[in-house]
Every structure is written in C-alpha cells, then in structure tokens.
C-alpha cells in the first residue's frame, strides 16, 4: 500500500511552471556596481539632473552601509559586483501603442496569464508590466485618465509628472532607511507610479506584473502610490522569474501615501522562482514596503501571499500619523523545500485613536524556515491606540521550522495591544480523516492549508483570491516526505 509519504514524494517532482525564459534581444550593461554604472543607468533612461543627483546621494550613502544580518536567514554573502544592474528588452522601435510591443514579450505575458492586450478589456484590470528593468506597457491609461488618475511606469512619471515624483519619492522610505532601500534608490530602473486625485474612487483594480528574464540580472523596481483626500484604490502586484541555477537579487521599494479619508489596499502575490528541491538557485527577495497614513481617517491595508523566492526579507508597514487612521497587514507566507522567509510588519502609531490589525499565517514544509518578525510601536501622543496581532504557524513534516519574533514598544498607557500566537502541525489525523472521506492527499493538504489561510484570502480581491489558492496548492506539492 502506498503511504502518504510516498505519494507526496512523487508530487515533489512538480516543476515551477513559470520557469521559462523568453528569447529576446536585450540591452544589458556589464556586470558590476560603481558611480559610473549609476550615471549610465540615469543616462540610458534620459533622466533629469535631479534624478541623477538622488541616485548618486543614495549610492554614496549605500557605500557606508553594511548588509543587515539580523534576520533569521542563512545564505552566503551576496557579491554585489557580480550582477547586471540594467537590462532592457531592445525595442525594435519606439513604442507608441501596445500593438508595437515585441510579440515575444506579449507571448510571455500571455503565458503568465496577464491581461495585457486590449482585447482583454473585460478582465477589468489595468496592468503595468515590468520586464527585467523596463516597464513595457500600461493598459487602460486613457480610461483612467478620464478620472484624473495617473497610472504609468516610474520612468514616464519622472518625465511627465516630475513635481509629484520629487514631492513624494523617498518621503516614506528615504534612501537612508536601510541597505537595500539605499541600493534600490541608486540603481532602480523602473516600476509603477500611481496618483489618485481628491475624491476619486479608482473604478478598477490596478495591477503591476514584474518579471525577471535576463540571467544574472538584479531587479530593482520602485512603486509610488499616492491617494489624495477622500480617494480610494485597490492595487495588486504579481511577480515571476525563470528557473536559473544561480541566485538572483531583487530589491524593491514600495511607498504608499494616504491623505485624509483616503484608502489604499495593496495586495501582493509574490511567486519569484524559489530555487529547486535541493535549494539551488532562486531569487533573493529584499524588499522595503511602507505606507504612510498621513491624513485623518486614512486607511492602508497590506495583503501579501508569499510563496516564491529562496530568501524573503520584507516587512510592509504603516506609519499611522493621522488621527483615527487604520493600518492592516494580512500575510500568508509559505516556505517549502529549502526556502527561507523572514517577514512581518511594522505598525507605528503616532496619531490619536489609531488602529492596527495584524494577521500572519506562516506555513513551513520540507526544510523551509519561516519567521514572523513584527514591530508594534505606540508613540507618546498615540492616545487610545489599539493593536491586535495574530500570528499562526503551521508545520508540515518534521524538518521545517517556524519562528515568531514580536517586538512591542508601548509609550502611552491608554493603548491596548493584543498579541495571539499559535503553532499547529498538519496532523496525520486530519489527513486520514480527509482520506477516509475519499479525498486524496494532495487535495487534503491543499484544503487544510487553505482553511488555515482563510482569514487572509478573504482580504484579497475576489479574482486574485482564487489565483492565490491555486498557487498555494501548487507550491505545496511535494511538501511532506
């Protein structure tokens, strides 16, 4: 008789299905990082002097920093000179519309299931797609601009909306924030920019897909999203990469700003290549994401489903500056095989009656190591602040690990802070119960894990919740044994 272990071992041979490479002509600069490289990137992108100045300051600051090593992650030192810092698909000519995008590229995005072509208008999602370092196309731009919404690549924003970029870029995550934020500020090549004007409710989901294609290329994108007074927006990013033996670096920065009564919902489905079963290859994902609730009653909600990457280091946080502002963090992080994740959030309560909610679900399988690291800080003036944190870990098999590092810093005695944590092991009993009802092992594991993550999935926009569940099931295959 086949045991559950045997069966799951068979399933372990499932390949990462987004692991294809697109054969496309690229403009890639030589490996290495120096002031000349930073200047070259800025030159290639035709940037104004103020942008080059920002990059150079960041680069010089970066040189004074050392890579942080406090996370519960184990990986060899990264050689920052051994990567390309700029790679762009060579356009056949200047792109005027989507019809002129390289068909190879469109085919790639088709494989990824991204509704890039105008025909897919019905999907109702506006997409900005970033391929290696360059934003390729933004759909629905006209429709959005009727509402006064700006949604474009970061490069275009630097050209077309320099005042907005200069005003807000680096105001939430300054280049001095940390090692990876400084690196990103120096060498970032593209990303997405979004501005929602006063009182406008964005009529559709906005979405960016990031794709690393070129070998030995680091990807450094930057996202800046500003929601002006009384506006609201829901934004989703997804990411994939080809399978490669070497590790690739990804260091992104995301800044969100919400003014009075504005609401931003930011969802991430992170599915970078996680490396193979033996832990070879995979993306090193070092990301700084932060939202500033600057206005009264502003609201920022982070939802993340992290299933990819060999190493994940990210702590999307909220600075709750405006009175009555609300910060939320809903996270599912799954580590299988040799994946490691150190992820969580920071909630900084500054304004009065600010509220934050943290729901973190960590799933460890195979030899995966999963850490929740979170900071809840209540500053002196944050009278009546409230936080509720719930950190649940699930273990699948007996070679993985789950860790929780909560930091709580309360400086106002009227605050209420609650922290709940649990660790469960997916039980033989649960699996047998499902099997006995005719449900096979793969479906049973998927069902139990999805049930565990339910509180987070229900925060995702409907169409992406289904995608997230499927992704989780695929990522779980081969998780026991």
């Amino acid at each position: 008789m086949k045991t559950p272990d045997d069966e799951l071992k068979t399933l372990a041979d499932q390949e990462y299905k987004w692991g294809f490479v697109t054969d496309i002509d690229s403009d890639t600069i030589p490996k290495g990082l120096s002031e000349e490289v930073v200047r070259l990137i800025s030159l290639k992108k035709g940037e104004p002097p103020w942008m080059l100045d920002f990059r150079l300051k960041a680069y010089r600051h970066w040189l004074t920093l050392v890579e942080p090593r406090w996370a519960h992650l184990d990986y060899p030192p990264v050689d920052y000179q051994d990567a390309h810092y700029y790679s762009a698909p060579k356009p056949k000519k200047k792109l005027a519309s989507l019809d002129e995008v390289d068909p190879e590229l469109l085919e790639t995005f088709g494989k990824l299931g991204i509704p890039l072509s105008e025909q897919k208008m019905l999907a109702g999602v506006a997409v900005d797609a970033v391929f290696d370092s360059v934003s390729v196309a933004t759909t629905f731009k006209e429709k959005l601009s009727e509402e006064g919404i700006i949604f474009c690549s970061f490069s275009e924003a630097i050209r077309e909306h320099p005042d907005l970029v200069r005003k807000y870029m680096g105001s939430v995550v300054p280049y001095t924030d940390n090692f990876f934020a400084a690196l990103n500020a120096a060498v970032f090549t593209d990303g997405s920019f979004c501005y929602i004007p006063k009182g406008v409710r964005c009529p559709m989901e906005l979405s960016t897909y990031f794709r690393i294609n070129q070998a030995q290329t680091g990807q450094f994108e930057r996202t800046l999203l500003v929601a002006d007074e009384g506006s609201s927006v829901s934004y989703l990013e997804g990411c994939t990469a080809p399978m490669r033996d070497e590790n690739q670096l990804h260091a992104a920065v995301v800044e969100l700003i919400a003014f009075d009564d504005a609401k931003i919902k930011y969802s991430t489905i992170q599915n970078w290549y996680p490396g193979d079963k033996e832990g070879k290859g995979g993306i090193y994902n070092f990301v700084t994401k932060r939202g500033a609730c600057r206005g009264r009653n502003s609201h920022i909600s982070w939802t993340q489903v992290e299933t990819g990457s060999a190493i994940t280091w990210k702590y999307p946080g909220c600075i709750l500056l405006g009175d009555n502002s609300v910060g939320e963090f809903y996270s599912v992080a799954l580590t299988n095989h040799h994946q490691q994740a150190d992820t969580g959030t920071k909630m900084i309560h500054i304004g009065k009656n600010t509220r934050s909610t943290i729901v973190s679900k960590g799933i460890s399988a195979g030899r995966g190591q999963n850490s929740y690291r979170g900071l809840v800080q209540i500053m002196k003036g944050a009278t009546g602040a409230r936080n509720f944190s719930q950190c649940d870990s699930m273990l699948i098999g007996d070679r993985c690990g789950a860790h929780t590092f909560p930091y709580i810093d309360v400086r106002n005695s009227s605050a209420t802070v609650e922290h709940e944590a649990s660790t469960t092991k997916i039980g033989e009993d649960q699996l047998f119960y499902c099997n006995q009802r005719g449900i096979d092992l793969e479906d049973a594991v998927g069902m139990i894990v999805n049930g565990f993550c339910k509180e987070v999935f229900r925060e995702l926009p409907m169409e992406f919740a289904v995608e997230a569940q499927k992704l989780l099931n695929v990522s779980l295959e081969g998780s026991v044994g």
Partner: protein, 256 residues
C-alpha cells in the same frame, strides 16, 4: 461483502489483533463489543486503512477484492465509511465544501457526474431534515468548536451523504447524552437497508437498544472470543466481561 480471515495486526511492534475471522453480508448489522484495550478500535481503523497499523498476517476481502493494497481514499471510494470515535477538526474549511469534495471524488470513482453546488445543497438539506439535524452545521468549519454530540451527529450526516456499502461506527455512542444518542441511533437506523452492511463497535450495550444488531461479537485480547444474538449484549451489560473471559480462557491484552 466483508470477509476477514485470520487477521493479525501490529502497532509499534506490539501485536493487537491476533487472528480475527469475521464475515459480514449486505443487509446485516454486526456489533463488536469488548473491554477496553481489546482491539475494537484497531479493527475499525485497519479496515479504513490507517497507516500506522501493520498487517502481519491474514487477509481482508471486500466484495472479493483485497482491501489491504488500497489507500484509505480508494477504500472510501469503494464504499467504506468510518464514523470516527474522535472526529477531527479542520479550521477554516466549511463542512459543505469538505463534504462536496468528498462526495464528488466518490461519485467520480463510481462513474457518476459531479454534483454542482445547488444540487449538493439540495441533497444536504434533504438529509439534514430526515436526520433532524440543524442546517447551520453545513456552514461551520468541519467539527471546529462542535460539542461531542454535534461531532457524532456530523459523522452520521456525512455517512448519509456518502451512502457507503459498509459503514463502520467506532464508539459512536461515547460521550453522547440520551437525546443525542437517540438522534444518532435513529440516523443509523434510517440508513439500514438490504444493500448496506453496518459494523457497530461499542463498549456499551445502550446503543444496541436502538440499533438492534443481527450478530454480536465479543473481542478480547485480540481475538473474537464469542459470537451470538443480541441477548449476548444484554448479558454482558448485566454481568460484565469477566465470566466470558474465564469461559474462553482469553487474557485481556493489547491497548489502543
């Protein structure tokens, strides 16, 4: 339907079942009684295919097929249902979703079309009604926060939905008050028909007042030491197992 011949089973190196012979035909209800640690639950779990039990001898034939080579889910799809002594909680998974997945995997195996959400719900509501159970159970997570009685009712409800050929009830009466016991027992009685075999594993006779079996077996020390009619169960209730064990010379052993 079910033929067990000289079945020997070990767990963690210890022999629990030491040669069981048992035959059950369609339409029959058999009860297995016996003192604690006699191997009753082991037998129920071995039939369902729980992995930690090692079969060291004998055979189990279900409708003429060797059951021991089948995985638990394959046995379930062939029509074997186990009502658990301790039903497991699955947080975040609604009972209706769980059961719809189960039912459709069994229907697929039988070559029947999958039920869609509407047909499933209609069927579930009909079964709920006939079992006098509360529909709200469908929307709750599987067994999560259920009382002991609710868990056992849920087992009987699932049994009614999955329509097994062989239903095994493992101590389904344990932890039930009189009212819950009646609902559970009535539910099982409703499922009694000429096509289905039912194996009731119980420590006490009280369930057998409601579900009167055709045959009662007494399991002790890993062997069936006596088989008889329902009066045997009544005698055991009154006089305990002592006289029987002396008569048969069996030594109570094992443990589960």
């Amino acid at each position: 339907m079910l033929n067990i011949k000289n079945l020997k089973v070990r767990i963690e190196g210890k022999e629990i079942l030491k040669g069981i012979d048992l035959s059950i035909e369609a339409g029959e209800v058999h009860a297995i009684m016996g003192p604690n640690g006699s191997g009753k639950s082991t037998l129920a779990n071995v039939l369902a295919g729980r992995a930690e039990y090692e079969i060291t001898g004998g055979e189990i034939l279900f409708e003429g097929k060797d059951l021991t080579v089948l995985a638990p889910e394959e046995r379930a799809r062939e029509g074997i249902f186990l009502a658990f002594q301790y039903p497991v909680e699955i947080p975040g998974v609604s009972t209706s979703y769980f059961l719809k997945t189960a039912l459709n995997s069994i229907r697929e195996h039988r070559g029947e079309v999958e039920l869609d959400a509407f047909d499933f719900l209609a069927l579930a509501k009909e079964k709920m009604k006939s079992l006098h159970m509360d529909e709200a159970l469908l929307h709750r997570s599987v067994n999560e926060g259920f009382s002991g009685g609710e868990k056992k009712k849920n087992e009987v409800f699932q049994m009614a939905m999955l329509d097994p050929k062989l239903a095994i009830l493992d101590e389904t009466d344990s932890g039930l008050d009189i009212d819950a016991l009646r609902i559970v027992a009535d539910g099982v009685q409703q499922l009694r028909d000429e096509k289905r075999a039912i194996l009731v594993v119980t420590h006490y006779q009280r369930l057998l007042d409601h579900i009167v079996p055709d045959v009662v077996h007494v399991l002790s020390g890993g062997r069936i030491v006596k088989s008889g009619d329902p009066d045997l169960a009544k005698k055991l209730e009154k006089e305990g197992y002592g006289w029987l064990l002396e008569e048969s010379g069996a030594v109570a052993g094992g443990g589960n």
